[in-house]
Subunit: 518 residues, 2 copies
């Protein structure tokens, strides 16, 4: 394979040992193969959420399971362990060392889980998801309780099997965090989230009941929204030669392979700001994927460094840039071109995009409150994996936590404990990535502002190239050569992301609501 | 697997031998797995031709090759041979017997080809296709000659390796026919095609220079054509719950798995009849796929019986139904609903859809001339596999054959020997399926007319259900339980398809051009 040949030179310069070079060539060839299989899996997953006809659901489920099985087999076959055994602990260049480290982590995690557990988890996810859809539809937690408990049990078992890899003193939840945001630990996140929660509550209390400048976007036809979305995508820097945008009920971005990044958005006639937010958010994800270091293909390092940093890219574009006043100065003439009768000013659009209130639903929450939703879930998940909460306890625990952390309680389970799809799909440990992303984005935004003195002037004129270039250099092109916390630190230096996020929110919301920090 | 469990009962009723049941269960499980992999391969192929961004081409090529390799490995692994060894020659019920026969044929064909040849063919196809694109673009055969010769050599080698499976006295080309239209042989096709060619020439000479009733469709907007295509699709009986229609430069239909049949069409503002033809043609393919016997999933018999019969379904709908006067009586009011200013009568539309002339390009040819294009290719391919023609001989041989068979000669190689993609992709033996399909369709049409006395009245009123029901019963639901010639014979009885096709053409074209059979 080409990738293997390219990167092999880094090793051969360092070593005269044939076995080492053979192992490296074999390993990178296998990683290339696994990348191909992962891309194929992503294609069929993308299609499932965009174009697949309803009657195909069962067939597609089997096809997806087949791909997962093939990937697991190829990832865990004994020869991979042998190659890693030859390579581990040897003196290697920076890239091969990082590649071997990452491959070893993946191999150890994959081989520590018995096939029985992997298969039971797949079944429990499928059953859990179906039970959740039903439970949410009927606004009744009962039919979801047993499937959820099953998922909790299996995830606890998985976490305990993986725990030895986390080293001594690790929290049981760390093994789950490692799956989605390698390098993050409960020990780091808990104090940071606690502090953030307190400070967000101060802000929300301050703006609560205060008047907000006027600004309300009327219903706008979806054809025009599509046109505007396409335009914004290209202006921000997404390369349509190497990707595309389609529509999906739940917008997402996925990489189908080098040169093929797919993002999706949702067009909502009655909620222009939601369409815009989706498009810009997914565009941020997509541009990260498009900026990954293609020259590291076959090493496993041509990949995102984790979901937290992935989310930092989407949130930086969605919130820091995409909800700024200069951005609406850029956007407003483009909107007027599509909807000539629309007379909202940039300031009114800015105001409409930045209303803050304690709300029930995570996915519809504003830039500030959103993080309280995550902190609530983080606390609940810690309770589950510390053995304090079981499925039967979750409806009450959800409401208690929401009352305390977010300051609202849902009158229904549909908008309460059943609001998210994640647990039903066996995703425990995923939620923190969202707020890690917001925190990273805040410090990246502050650093960007210092690095590009005319940043906002450029945004206002639709010149986003310097921002993208900076992110390419500092984040994208590093791929997964390091874990995200290190990449972040190299990019921003010794910054305090909680302080950066709160500064940003006080600055933006304080100005809009006419309040300042006490 | 569910499919294996369902079908295993057919065997277990007949047998108390554990080994036989185990082998049957193992075989059908493997066939189910191969169906899943084939479906996945079809998904990524469908995407490649519909939505894939340009920069993904190289990655997608590797992903496709990876799927082919996985399928080949799973299809040819030694245990498949062992299961077939246990099952072959035993007393089995009708379905397992057919399934084992088909599986054995696939296994023998796959294992007879050395991996070296399979891999060289894959490379030669890729190189051949690229060379053809270039050659066609520059209207110059030279850069295609060597890659084409390579493909010819490899296909000759393949044909000779597979020849023993065809039995004594087989033509070298039979092994290639077997790939696309199992059951067809040169011994059957050659006399039939010769006779058809002669009779078509009589018809074409008769209409040549004769006046044709007026009727010309003006340029029609593609949005309206899309709307009409969607409507026609549903009216004909395609189930959009279990499939969909997208756009592609070269329309095709593909089955991605049970419940997921994708068809594509091409909207041409300046050529409404071409759009309509594409849509109805692909719809015919799609309805065949949707009618395959899902209860035979996992046996390998839940599949088309060959490309000839597949093509019979598309051509029956496209030509016999879709170019008929009653069809345009059904369509004209729907067209007027979309384009109120359009004043063409059903008779004028019918006339516009049925112009006949000796023409250069196969894909744009009329219902009659089309078959001459195929006969020309059939003769050339026979020459290649009888060792009389090599790549260097083909440009001149093409022109000679066209002059003799079709009655026209292309002034350029672009519209001559380079017009088709097939050879560049290593598809030799595929072309006859098109005319086999037209012949089958003619006899099916004649039988349908007898079976449904009010056929044309129903068509005129947009009631296509009895036609689809008849095809479901006679063709679709039989899947690949038998080879196509047998399914065809069971459906139409002892008919002469050449006579049926000529009767149909003389009836339709004779009436339009005011000529009758001498």
């Amino acid at each position: 394979m080409r990738a293997a040949a390219d990167t092999a030179s880094w090793v051969s310069n360092l070593s005269h040992f044939g076995a080492r070079l053979d192992a490296w060539t074999a390993l990178t060839t296998r990683i290339g193969e696994l990348d191909e299989l992962a891309g194929i899996s992503a294609i069929i997953g993308w299609d499932e959420q965009t174009y697949m006809p309803p009657a195909a659901a069962e067939t597609r489920g089997r096809q997806s399971a087949r791909m997962s099985q093939l990937m697991h087999e190829r990832a865990t076959s004994p020869e991979v362990g042998e190659w890693l055994g030859i390579l581990a602990g040897q003196e290697l260049g920076e890239v091969p060392r990082a590649a071997v480290k990452r491959a070893l982590r993946n191999y150890e995690r994959a081989t520590m889980l018995p096939t029985r557990l992997v298969s039971e988890l797949a079944t429990a996810r499928s059953e859990g998801f179906n039970a959740w859809v039903k439970a949410k539809g009927s606004n009744d937690f009962a039919p979801f309780q047993a499937p959820l408990q099953r998922l909790i049990d299996l995830n606890r078992e998985m976490a305990s099997l993986l725990a030895p890899l986390q080293g001594p003193g690790a929290h049981p939840y760390d093994a789950l965090l490692e799956e989605y945001d390698p390098g993050s630990t409960v020990a780091d996140l808990r104090p940071m989230f606690e502090r953030l929660g307190k400070e967000l509550n101060v802000l929300l209390d301050a703006v609560s009941g205060r008047p907000h400048p006027p600004g309300k976007v009327p219903s706008l036809d979806v054809e025009g929204q599509r046109k505007l979305s396409d335009r914004v995508l290209v202006d921000l820097g997404f390369d349509l030669n190497a990707g595309r945008m389609d529509l999906a009920a739940h917008p997402f971005t996925t990489g189908l392979g080098v040169g093929d990044i797919r993002l999706t958005t949702r067009l909502q006639a009655d909620d222009f700001m939601s369409t815009l937010g989706s498009t810009v958010h997914e565009c941020g994800h997509g541009m990260y994927e498009q900026g990954l270091p293609v020259e590291l293909a076959g090493t496993g390092l041509n990949a995102a460094a984790g979901m937290g940093i992935h989310e930092s890219q989407s949130r930086l574009w969605e919130n820091f840039i995409g909800r700024s006043l200069p951005f609406f100065r850029y956007l407003q003439p483009r909107m007027a071109g599509i909807w000539p009768s629309l007379t909202l000013s940039p300031a009114e659009l800015y105001s409409a995009a930045n209303r803050v209130e304690r709300s029930l639903i995570r996915v519809a929450a504003d830039e500030a409150t959103y993080n309280l939703h995550i902190i609530a879930r983080f606390e609940l998940e810690l309770g589950i994996f510390e053995g304090k909460l079981d499925a039967k306890d979750l409806p009450a625990a959800w409401d208690d936590t929401y009352r305390r952390v977010v300051g609202v309680v849902s009158p229904t389970v549909r908008d309460g404990v059943l609001q998210d799809v994640h647990w039903s799909s066996g995703l425990f440990g995923y939620f923190p990535s969202y707020t890690i992303g917001n925190l990273y984005a805040a410090s990246l935004g502050a650093t960007l502002t210092a690095a590009i003195p005319d940043l906002w002037d450029r945004v206002e004129h639709g010149d986003f190239a310097p921002i993208l270039a900076w992110l390419r250099e500092k984040i994208h092109k590093r791929g997964h050569t390091q874990d995200a916390p290190r990449i972040f630190k190299d990019a921003v230096g010794d910054r305090d992301p909680v302080a950066d996020l709160m500064d940003h929110l006080w600055h933006r919301q304080g100005q809009l609501y006419g309040v300042s920090r006490g």
